[in-house]
Every structure is written in structure tokens, then in C-alpha cells.
Amino acid sequence: MEANLEKKDVNRKDFLSMAILAIGGVISFAIGIPAVAYILGPALRKATEQNWIPLGLASKVEVGVPTLFKAKIEQKAGWITNEQELTFYVLTDNGRDFVAMSNVCTHLGCRVRWVEDQEQFFCPCHNAAFDKQGDVVSGPPPKPLDKFEVKVENDQLFVLGGGAA
């Protein structure tokens, strides 16, 4: 009889320990999983969607000469909206088909500029040169200048970018 009582007592303790452990586990997960999502949220956010960015008048592009266009886009990483200036070189050979190139050197991200008398894009950081189409002529860059999709509507030039640009 006494032994029975003692056994019952131990069982009650064990039951309570297990109940505390189970409830504690549920609460830990109920806070832990949202906490992980909360911490990782900004890191896992996909790049912002690409948009058609208006550049200016297509008629401003001289045939056969890369022409500089600047566009402002708004970017938001967290709670601050920043205006960022993007720069493109637009090239046309016939006044109808356009190619837009980034002015960011594919080596280490310096800005390239068009040098008229040499007919080349020149990067001042490591003396890299690209030809008119953006292909590497000399220097360390591993690939040609980035190209963007272009469209013309009512003489208005647009490039598709913004996301990773």
C-alpha cells in the first residue's frame, strides 16, 4: 500500500516534468521559428523587379557613336529610399536598332568612358579597353560590358534594368 502510494507520487512528478518539457518546447518553437524568419527576412529578399527605365530621346543618339545617358532610379534596402543614378552608353548603327551598355567595368567595377579619337571605352583603374560593341580589347576584364534590353516608344528610349544594375 505504501509502496503503491510512493510509486504514484513518482509518476506524478515524472508527468509534470514531461509536461513542462513539452510546453517549454512548444513555446520555444513558437518564438524560435518566427525569430529565425524575422532575422533572415532581409537577407532572403529577392532582388527588386526590373522596370523599363526612361533614358531620353532616341534621336539624341548619333549613328555609330556610343552616347551617354543618365537615369535616376529609386532603391530601397530596408526603410530608406535612395535615389541612385545609373549610366548607360547607347549605340546605334542605323538609327533604328539600339544597344545599351553599362558603363561599369566588368573587372572591378570602375566606370569606363568613351574615348572619341581612339574609338574605345577606357577604364582608368587598370588600363582596360573595350571596343565600340563593348567587347574586351585589352586589359584584365573577364567579359564584355553588360548589355541591357532596349525599346523605343515615340522616340523615347527605355532600358530594362533596376534590379541588379
Binding site: 518566427p34 524575422y38 532575422i39 527576412g41 530596408g78 526603410w79
Partner: protein, 222 residues
């Protein structure tokens, strides 16, 4: 294997004695009202965890505080949940502390030898109210701004020293970026350190002295 490791560690840390002292101590036959203190401690833990999570994104600056709170609430995954736990946890902590005190008062548990447990408890309540007061300003919305304007104004009502108190609290004559920064500093550094130090003392006293039994009706026949 695990038992061997546990034994090896226990020989060095003596954690089993600590565990037994804290969780296997003898207690009198009590009722559910005796869980209010533990409930308050649990909410304090919740406030600490969710509070630390909130500081990952919150910026205590007038031009960003509101935007960061909006970002936490509406753009972060589960941000509304973390902020909600902290927001409602704050109210729960005050309510539970007071209920816990009411239990101690009605059961006469503040008497010898537990006066210091009571006094540290009163200080803990004051710290909790301080948390509520400083935390109220941090979202930097209209309610926060005017709530703290009125709150600091009330603190400034005592004669002679009132204006000085108000200027110290606001960090100047007006509620400003100085006020927001110091309320934040007090809320996340000064008060948490004080709270956990005093909880340590409070818990030490509870474990050292033991908790009081519910008072019994005295015999009336002399």
C-alpha cells in the same frame, strides 16, 4: 556515455547541487496564486528575447524610428508577431507584477524574514514601470510623442525641482531627438541591467529563505 560525460562535468561544475537547490527545494502546500511570480519572470524573459530581436532593426532617431517600426511591423516576416509579443508582454508584465504583489500582501508574505524580498520586489516593480514609460516613446508615433510629452510634464510638477527633473528627462526643455536617444539607452541598457541584477537578488532570497505557507485561521478559543 552521456551519463559518464554528465558525471564528469558534475564532478567539476557541481551543477546537480545547483539544480537540486533551485528546482528540488522543499515548498509548503500552496495554491495557483503562488505561480504569479514565476509568470512575471517568464514574461520578463519574453521581453528580453523579443526586445533584443527588435533592436536588430529599430533605429532610435527621429527621422528613422517610425519608419523602422513600420518596417518591422509590415514588411519583415513575423515582425508583427515579435513586436506584438513585446507590446502586449509589456502590459502583461505590469499586470502580473501587481497581482503577484497583491498575493504577497494578502498572505502577509512580506513579513520577517522576507522584508528584503519584498523591498527588492518593489524596486523591480518600479523598474518595470520605468521600462513601460521609456518604451512607450520609442515607436515615435503621435501616441508616443504626446504620451511622453504629458508623462514628462507630470514628472515636472513637483515644486522647486520639477523643472530640473523635466529637463533631465527630456534632455532639454522640449521633447526632442535627445529625449528619444536617452529613453532608448535607458530602455535597453540601464533598466535591463538593473532588472536582472535585482531579479538575481530576489531569486536568491526566495531560494535561501523559502516561500511562505498560506496563513492559517488562528484558533479563536484562546
Amino acid at each position: 556515455m552521456m551519463t559518464n560525460l554528465a558525471n564528469w562535468l558534475d564532478e567539476r561544475f557541481g551543477w546537480r547541487t545547483v539544480w537540486e537547490t533551485i528546482f528540488r527545494r522543499k515548498i509548503p502546500k500552496v495554491n495557483w496564486f503562488y505561480t504569479l511570480g514565476s509568470a512575471t519572470l517568464f514574461v520578463a524573459l519574453n521581453q528580453a528575447i523579443t526586445g533584443i530581436l527588435l533592436t536588430l532593426y529599430y533605429v532610435p532617431s527621429p527621422d528613422q524610428a517610425y519608419a523602422t517600426v513600420q518596417f518591422i511591423t509590415y514588411e519583415l516576416p513575423a515582425g508583427w508577431f515579435i513586436r506584438g509579443l513585446h507590446h502586449y508582454g509589456a502590459s502583461a508584465m505590469v499586470v502580473l507584477s501587481v497581482l503577484h504583489m497583491v498575493r504577497v500582501i494578502f498572505y502577509g508574505a512580506y513579513k520577517f524574514p522576507r522584508e528584503m524580498t519584498w523591498i527588492t520586489g518593489v524596486l523591480l516593480l518600479l523598474i518595470t514601470i520605468g521600462f513601460g514609460f521609456t518604451g512607450y516613446l520609442l515607436p515615435w508615433d503621435q501616441k508616443a510623442y504626446w504620451g511622453s510629452t504629458v508623462g514628462t510634464k507630470i514628472a515636472g510638477t513637483p515644486p522647486f525641482i520639477g523643472d530640473f527633473i523635466l529637463r533631465v528627462m527630456r534632455g532639454g526643455q522640449e521633447l526632442s531627438e535627445v529625449t528619444l536617444a536617452r529613453f532608448f539607452g535607458v530602455h535597453v541598457w540601464v533598466l535591463p541591467v538593473l532588472l536582472f541584477l535585482l531579479i538575481g537578488v530576489h531569486m536568491y532570497l526566495i531560494i535561501r529563505i523559502g516561500i511562505s505557507a498560506p496563513p492559517k485561521r488562528e484558533k479563536t478559543d484562546e
